[in-house]
């Protein structure tokens, strides 16, 4: 599979180490259709290729949006791109958040750090189809107040009456009057009916581990919990072997897994 040429429309700084890059398709006007939770392989000429979750709105496909944390050569090269520059895109790949399965249920989204980026398309979808769902809750944790991603948008979401948003930080500062603590601590008092809830979580593995424990404590069934895993992905089509998680290929069997299908691997070290 070869990258399809896209063009940079906008690069916007989100926090000190994250940015959102907006791309448009060079050849097709329709852009890329994708399901919330899927990812693309982004290629920067001469630098290399990395997997990045799509963080934009699945109901409007003309602009392709990714939110990236600067951690290595390629993500750094992506941040340096200017409007009009080339980005090669392969995708979309992988499994999606179970937004259809959530219909007529409560939905709780639990995100940690940059994990909010792959969750955002699901939230866009839920809000676009708001009538089909019960209570929708977004629980978000960041390290510090300045690490909060999509801050303006979070404030807008918090102002809505049909969406519950709770944000917490690991370490507060003198500007912060909100919750302090890790994100799983928000779960016990979140307003959802445990037996009629679909939970979706994305963040560091340790955060998801405690999130699952807290959800289970509330009585959410293991087959109603969905986790988004991260592993090294090179080919994204299940051939290179890098992203194996037990018998699963995270790139094609995931990244979104129903928790009970990976539960046996979830609390193991170095799998």
């Amino acid at each position: 599979m070869t990258p399809v040429p896209f063009m940079v429309k906008k690069v916007q700084r989100d926090t000190a180490d994250t940015f959102t890059i907006v791309l448009t398709d060079v050849e097709r006007v329709t852009g890329m259709t994708f399901a919330p939770g899927q990812f693309n392989m982004l290629y920067v000429f001469g630098a290399g290729e990395i997997p990045v979750s799509i963080s934009g709105d699945p109901t409007s496909t003309k602009k392709l949006i990714h939110t990236v944390r600067v951690v290595g050569t390629v993500s750094r090269a992506l941040r340096r791109l200017r409007v009009g520059d080339f980005v090669g895109v392969r995708g979309p790949f992988g499994t999606a958040w179970p937004v259809q399965k959530g219909e007529s249920n409560d939905v709780v989204l639990v995100a940690g750090g940059i994990g909010l980026a792959p969750i955002r398309p699901a939230l866009y979808y839920l809000l676009a189809n708001r009538k089909k769902y019960g209570k929708i809750t977004l629980l978000y944790g960041a390290r510090t107040p300045s690490d909060i991603l999509y801050r303006t948008e979070l404030e807008q979401w918090r102002a809505r009456f049909d969406l519950e948003v709770e944000v917490t930080v690991d370490h507060g500062d003198d500007t912060w009057w909100g919750n302090v603590g890790v994100v799983p601590t928000l779960i016990p008092r979140a307003p959802f009916d445990p037996l009629n809830t679909i939970a979706m979580t994305c963040g560091p593995e340790v955060m998801m581990r405690f999130t699952v424990m807290a959800l289970r404590k509330r009585g959410v069934n293991t087959d109603d919990i969905y986790v988004s895993m991260e592993r090294n992905m090179k080919c994204a089509i299940g051939l290179c072997g890098h992203c194996q998680f037990g018998g699963k290929f995270v790139c094609k069997d995931g990244p979104v897994f129903r928790y009970d299908t990976v539960a046996h691997l979830f609390n193991k070290r170095e799998v």
């Binding site: 040429p5 581990r209 089509i237 290179c240």
Partner: protein, 389 residues
């Protein structure tokens, strides 16, 4: 001798040792590049051969854990050796290959695919275990949602001539994995070499139309019952002399439930994470890509090359490797090979060729490690279910 025998697929024929060169001549006449075994660098390797004189006549080998030595034998058997370090994997799934090239022209970038077409290749002297390894890689590369085009083309352009084993090496355990010492399906032609004091001949089985087109008109007779019996006995002798064995029953479940077994620490202490086992394994399929740019900065190449789950880079995600310890990397390899492969491709990933044992510099033995886990099996009831809160 019948001058124009009407052979058909499934026939068992006799090819005289003196006529063997005819087979290679016919392969070449049918425009095949012939890849076969030869002696080079002190071992048996696969490479292009020009004729029967390139074959390792009179060579055998001594193999054991971390040991490989060629030796001269007093017979002149063409295929009297056991597997060398490399299988035919490198010709079908190449160690390094350019997958595309990108050219930059101001702000636009164009991507170009290489336009190389694979050459028709006949693989001579493929052992039954290696044939099964090819069939396993077929599942990996050509049966999934996504296809490896290059592999698929090379495979379509290949003809496989198996040589059944009449002697087993000390690290062989194909009978445990049900992949040998006799090939039962998936080949174009299969040979069993029979060497008596005064008589050298091959039992030649026709496995496909493609194989038939090569042998049609060759100076062969149909095999007599006696000859068939002799060939069968030779193969049985190899099966009886397997150097190693592995108890494959319930192996998948055994390894998966023992992921937390403390025994893995013991392998972790011995394993050098050198990746030799994955480099010689005929089924290992992991690869990585490397991007390089030329000096002008306007042409970028993407190369795919073999990779190994034993390197730190293999599982690297920002912040570090998922499997920093040797123990975790060995465990990943063996559980993948013997257990999760079933989940992924509906077959074991091991064919019992024994190469990983022979070529491990510290002699770690997959059959021994599997046995050790079985002896220390954590029974299902003991498996912790800490997540079930």
């Amino acid at each position: 001798m019948d001058e124009n025998p009407a052979f058909k697929v499934g026939d068992q024929l006799i090819l005289q040792g003196s006529d063997f060169s005819e087979l290679i001549v016919r392969l070449k006449a049918a425009a095949y590049r012939v890849v076969g075994p030869m002696v080079r660098d002190g071992c048996i390797v696969f490479d292009e051969i020009s004729g029967v004189e390139d074959l390792p006549a009179g060579f055998g080998d001594n193999q054991d854990a971390a040991t490989y030595r060629l030796r001269q034998c007093d017979d002149m058997a063409l295929f009297g050796y056991n597997n060398g370090p490399q299988s035919v994997k490198r010709f079908l799934y190449t160690p390094q290959r350019e997958i595309w090239k990108a050219r930059r022209n101001r702000k636009t970038v164009s991507i170009h695919l290489p336009d190389t077409e694979p050459v028709k290749t006949a693989f001579l002297g493929v052992r039954p275990c290696d044939l099964n390894a090819v069939l396993i890689q077929d599942r990996v590369f050509t049966r999934g949602e996504y296809l490896d085009d290059d592999y698929n083309k090379r495979r379509e352009n290949s003809l496989i001539i198996v040589v059944n084993c009449t002697e087993a090496g000390k690290t062989c355990f194909c009978s445990s994995m049900n992949t040998g010492p006799r090939a039962t399906a998936g080949f174009d032609l299969a040979l069993t070499e029979i060497l008596h004091a005064d008589h050298h001949y091959f039992l030649l089985e026709v496995g496909s139309d493609r194989g038939l087109s090569i042998v049609a008109g060759m100076p062969c007779d149909h095999a007599s019952d006696q000859q068939l019996r002799t060939a069968a006995e030779s193969v049985t002798r190899a099966a009886d002399n397997m150097g190693r064995s592995i108890d494959a029953s319930g192996l998948k479940e055994l390894l998966i439930r023992n992921i937390d077994n403390v025994y893995w620490d013991s392998v972790g202490h011995r394993c050098l994470t050198c990746a030799n086992c994955t480099m010689v394994c005929p089924t290992c399929f992991c690869s990585t890509v490397e991007d390089t740019t030329d000096l002008t900065g306007n042409t970028a190449h993407r190369i795919r090359r073999w990779d190994s789950c034993f390197t730190m880079d293999f599982s690297y995600i920002h912040g570090g490797s998922v499997r920093p310890s040797a123990k975790a990397r060995y465990r990943q390899w063996i559980i993948h090979k013997l257990a999760s492969w079933h989940e992924q491709f509906g077959t074991s990933g091991c064919v019992g060729c024994g190469r990983c044992i022979t070529w491990c510099p510290v002699g770690i033995d997959i059959t021994e490690e599997a046995r050790a886990i079985r002896q220390r099996d954590i029974r299902p009831a003991e498996v912790s279910e800490t997540m079930e809160v």
